[in-house]
Symmetry: C2
Subunit: 102 residues, 2 copies
């Protein structure tokens, strides 16, 4: 088992030197590319590629958090600790929406 915070620290040890040189904007672009690749793996229904891209998306998300000095675990638990932040329930009781409405 690894905590979200520990995984972010692992990524810091491996990549912070490069991530900080690249900066937030380009690290975010890379994250976007990885999410796109995850979508392509989904389209191809390739389970090994899908698992691989999940790892990459999560790794780049923590890299970006490191560049910005954001504690991903704290930010996440603050919003999602055991209930939906919108309706306050678990399971969520908000109306079902298939697509995003802004």
């Amino acid at each position: 088992m690894v905590s979200v915070k520990e995984f972010q620290e692992i990524m810091r040890r491996i990549y912070f030197n490069k991530d900080s040189k690249r900066g937030a904007e380009d690290t975010h672009k890379w994250l976007e590319d990885e999410v796109k690749e995850l979508g392509e793996a989904l389209q191809n229904n390739d389970i090994k590629a899908i698992e691989n891209e999940f790892a990459d998306v999560f790794a780049w998300l923590t890299s970006l958090a490191n560049v910005l000095e954001i504690d991903l675990e704290r930010a996440t638990l603050r919003k999602y600790e055991n209930r939906c932040p919108k309706c306050g329930s678990s399971p969520c009781e908000c109306p079902f929406r298939k697509r995003r409405v802004k």
Copy 2:
């Protein structure tokens, strides 16, 4: 502290009913939108919005993993356990690249 696996389980309890109804393709679209919103928050340099969007991206990533029955923690540690999967070192010794080259 929360492990990656535990957080994925929390998301399952809160959202799996809706996530499974929505399906992988639309859940991935939602994840893409959240990554875009994180980029907008970065542009605006709004720290509260940035933290909020980090939480959302991670939440939607685990939602998508739940729909696909992927263990995000296992997939991630398999690829990134304590060293760069490309060069095998920590810190990573791969050549620095600012932008993605496919």
